[in-house]
Symmetry: C2
Subunit: 277 residues, 2 copies
């Protein structure tokens, strides 16, 4: 790859889920001590906390709160559940504002008991119905296209082209896209769709990890960058060629790494970030 390696950690962000055994106070303290500059907060870590104080604590540690994970899960064959999802997304917007981040990642959802076309329609309707709250709070929403292996129940948006289509159809400055290499690496049109995404000012976030080969679990066997077959540096070169200046967000769900000493794992993340992302 011709892209230069990262020489410092100024654009490294870690998702709290990556070091799941740590609570948010531990994550903040240890990320900051290691020189990490960004944190993406998963909502479960906020349970029982005053969100405003937690946001202050993160900033005092010198961390940028890159985003809140996650809103979405809009589709359901049951209208009451769709309504409840919209309410939950409104709460997520309030939480993001309280935390002091201007971005929420959307795992859009799917309901296996209805056609994907119907789920996609409900996703668009769901996002559009929370736009007034998003705009009032100054919080942007990033559609995250998920790997097609999650099309049954996690997201009916499975390619960057689909996410681009939807963001362009919604056509709001508050709606863009989170590009995650794990979900999209296999797509032959990835480079051109990243360019299209950025051209419409929709490239809001960039998530990294690796696809292990073999992968033993559909959810919890993600790898560190360099451990699998995803050309992370090449994809970053496409992202950066668009002018993207945001964080590289490490988001790893791994039953294996969650069992390790998380201090050792954090060291590995930083090494992998420098060497393979």
């Amino acid at each position: 790859m011709s892209i230069p390696k990262h020489t410092d950690l100024s654009r490294l962000c870690i998702h709290t889920i990556t070091t799941k055994p740590w609570n948010i106070e531990q994550s903040a303290k240890y990320y900051a001590a290691a020189g990490v500059k960004g944190i993406t907060v998963w909502r479960d870590t906020l349970e029982g906390r005053d969100i405003r104080s937690t946001g202050r604590m993160l900033r005092e540690e010198g961390l940028t709160v890159v985003s809140l994970c996650r809103g979405g899960f809009f589709p359901s064959i049951d209208p009451a559940k769709r309504k409840s999802a919209i309410d939950d997304n409104k709460r997520a917007i309030e939480e993001a504002a309280a935390l002091g981040t201007n971005l929420i990642v959307l795992v859009c959802g799917a309901d296996p008991s209805q056609p994907l076309t119907e789920s996609r329609k409900q996703i668009q309707e769901g996002i559009e119905s929370v736009l007034p709250e998003a705009s009032a709070a100054g919080v942007r929403l990033a559609i995250e296209p998920l790997h097609p292996m999650y099309a049954d129940s996690r997201s009916a948006i499975n390619t960057l082209a689909q996410a681009n289509d939807m963001a362009e159809a919604i056509d709001s400055p508050w709606v863009g896209i989170a590009v995650d290499v794990y979900h999209l690496w296999w797509d032959a049109h990835l480079q051109q769709e990243i360019e299209r995404c950025a051209r419409h000012n929709h490239l809001f976030a960039f998530h990294i990890c690796d696809w292990k080969t073999p992968t033993t679990d559909l959810l919890f066997d993600r790898g560190l960058m360099g451990e699998g077959c995803i050309p992370v540096q090449q994809i970053r070169s496409w992202v950066e060629a668009t002018g993207f200046k945001g964080f590289n967000e490490v988001e790893i769900f791994s039953n294996i790494y969650w069992k390790e000493d998380q201090h050792q794992f954090l060291k590995k993340i930083i090494e992998a970030y420098k060497e393979h992302s």
Copy 2:
């Protein structure tokens, strides 16, 4: 769905892998006794057999040998392995001819240690290099696009659009495509790509099963039609709207079903075929 249900088994084919605990003689006998009219033979079942006699045995049971599974696995970073894959595909062509089928399904392959673009190039080169043998033997080759979760090591061809692109680039009457609902159901462009595939006379085979939700294994947890979220009947309606008159091939890899009594499982297959495919 407006498409009529199957009223008989005249277009039902079963892949031998579906009833893996049975050897090919058992599969042939029990499929035929149940009224199944087609069989797709996996090469492992031919081990230690005289292939010509086995083909005769299958026809004597009244079975059409729909295809031989599988050729492919062309890409490798190692030229010696690429050469060896080509030799193996030539052997598969001989086996298909001996067995008396005019179709081989290709699981095209991928090598995680090289870019997908390189693997795709090697797939095309691999297929082209066995065309003389295919044409001489009267054996057609069906590119099977595989689900993107297999892009690391099983196939760098992951959408029907990619398979269509490649079949059109090769542009030979001996090269077409196998459409499998498990691999392709999530694709928003599936209907139009099926139409495109048929328009170019590339629609060679149609494989069915279901995507269970949740799915617990990346390989061996496929479901019976009706057990998951794939709109099998709708996809069949798109396939048949093109004029396709081939078999509906049941191809299920399932650690769960392989543990069951295979006679009971065969009954379930036939029920699921009639009710949900």
